[in-house]
Symmetry: C2
Subunit: 354 residues, 2 copies
């Protein structure tokens, strides 16, 4: 996509109608339970009403997009796993053996796996969405990870995926990723947008040791110094210190919000993409549900920047969309509460202080 198309998309994201929220609250207060006693489940239901523009919200088809890409910054020794694991795991997703396969099946959701930038030739591999922008990013520690046109192209991949989801009648969309080395660009994005030091934003990812953690912080520090990404320009930050799957997930957020489709965000890397999306279009924030706070130490800081409390706290640090898949159950539950519970008058139950 072009920058003009991106600006046009950002401007087309609808706001949330306050009248729908009022109607949703009235419905919640009429159900046979003390007012507010279902806590955050009530908030979720109300937000779903606002996003979908109807009371009660519709429960429907659910899909996780797992975007895969490689990262030049792995040359700096920032990951506990070798880069060849990215394509190996893509094949594992396609065979149904990974955690995200188990958890999407459990949630009654679909999974769509997308090659947006893996350093491997998947030609002829069935079941994969082939949308490779490049065979991985360049090493962000020594120069820009992507060109600006590459970042726009990867954003466009995500927007197209969101449009497909809407066309297929998907009602709840989850974002997740696979990319050895990708907690380093996510950390660099957080450092830049949150004004934090490299030491404060890096974590152990898939399990690096102390020396690896130091190499990650150094890579982030050098990446910020050499690239000088401009915090006020989300596209600049994304291109210089981001990743192709991060750009794709940001595009998914934008495209989904444009069509009033709620997006459930996974962990540290997916949240970095969501953060970029809100910088490209602040109205996106109203469409995001943050599924969990991960064990990656700086994830909490990222969630603070988005101003939302996560749904789950399970010490996950896997990615793939696993947190999104787990949170689907809570969102469906919230929608069903609004659609299926009896009201006080229907059930003949006395009200409070009655």
């Amino acid at each position: 996509m072009t920058e003009t198309e991106l600006q046009s998309l950002a401007g087309a994201i609808p706001g949330i109608d306050p009248e729908i929220l009022t109607a949703a609250q009235a419905r919640l207060d009429d159900l046979t339970k003390p007012p507010g006693s279902l806590g955050r489940l009530e908030e979720l239901g109300k937000r779903l009403c606002g996003i979908q523009g109807r009371v009660p919200p519709v429960v429907g088809r659910k899909r996780v997009y797992t975007l895969a890409a490689d990262h030049g910054v792995t040359a700096e020794g920032v990951s506990a796993f070798p880069s060849e694991v990215t394509p190996q795991m893509v094949l594992n997703f396609l065979r149904g053996g990974a955690a995200i396969n188990v958890l999407t099946r459990h949630a009654g959701a679909e999974i769509v796996v997308v090659d947006v930038g893996v350093n491997h030739d998947f030609d002829g591999v069935p079941g994969l969405v082939h949308a490779k922008v490049a065979s991985g990013t360049a090493n962000l520690a020594v120069g820009p990870a992507m060109t600006r046109p590459q970042a726009l192209q990867a954003l466009g991949v995500g927007v197209d995926l969101a449009n497909s989801a809407v066309a297929d009648g998907v009602r709840l969309l989850g974002i997740g990723e696979m990319g050895i080395g990708n907690s380093t660009p996510a950390a660099a994005i957080l450092a830049c947008l949150g004004g934090l030091s490299p030491d404060a934003v890096v974590g152990r990812g898939t399990g690096v040791d102390d020396a690896g953690l130091q190499r990650k912080a150094d890579a982030v520090r050098r990446g910020l110094e050499v690239n000088r990404p401009v915090p006020g320009d989300g596209l600049d930050v994304l291109a210089k210190v981001g990743g192709l799957e991060i750009a794709g997930m940001a595009g998914l957020c934008l495209g989904a919000a444009r069509h009033r489709l709620p997006v459930v965000v996974d962990g540290f890397i997916a949240t970095a993409a969501a953060l970029i999306a809100t910088r490209l279009a602040p109205a996106v924030a109203g469409y995001l549900f943050l599924s969990h706070v991960s064990q990656e130490q700086a994830h909490g800081r990222m969630l603070e920047l988005l101003g939302q409390r996560p749904l789950l706290d399970l010490d996950l640090r896997l990615g793939e969309g696993t947190g999104s898949a787990l949170a689907f159950s809570l969102l469906d539950a919230a929608a069903k509460i609004m659609a299926e519970m009896a009201t006080f008058s229907e059930a003949g139950v006395s009200g409070k202080d009655g």
Copy 2:
């Protein structure tokens, strides 16, 4: 049941075999994910293996028991809702219109509603388990809530229900309750067993105002003064300041643990029952999963006494078993991860630092 039968049951609860836990950990570390990266989901899976005595654990039939009873202490003005709501909500459960009905359906679980002490004649009402021990407790603020034989009888109701669940092939059991006024006995149990002041243990329950909160604290204070329950004697505490549904839920915990059936505990009142069960038989603790930390302010203190971190934090304060039903999804997910994920060698994926 008699006190001798209770002691015999308590002594028959099996311990957890450490060899099964070792085998479970080995299985988890062989799956295609960084070791430990599914965090608490891995802990849950491992505990399920230990409880069931097999790797991977079995996913199967799930059931919530919602026990209903009335409370003499409502005479003290401790609740925002009138006592007639207890039987009204029982009928709502039987018609399928309450939150617990929606959430058990959502979880693919059954709900069994039990009258263990409601002050209403349910004769001939179908779909209800009729196990009334008394038409509510006496007012704990002026004397013992139950006699010791009544408490034993209500415990026996719970043990029998657990035996039925085992006979029906249930693999995951949830406990919940309905009883206007029952956050007051739960608070009194916490004050007694935790050595806490009445002001520290009372909360707003279904929504009492400041004056009601003061009346609750006063009722707890008078209840402890007049009854002098002995903290070292769980049955004495249960009888003097407990409730019939609390006793029934404690019996469910004992009976389930006896047959290696995991129990998912709901909020403040169900946790009070679980606490009593661990005082009657400490080995019960290994079979409990604490579903959530509720908005009831003292629930956190109660969870600390049980030494377990809750699974969810959703500001729920409804009861009925709603937290248990929501947590079922996480436990099933944990079991499926262990049963369905591919191993590194099966998937041809390189290991860490490989």
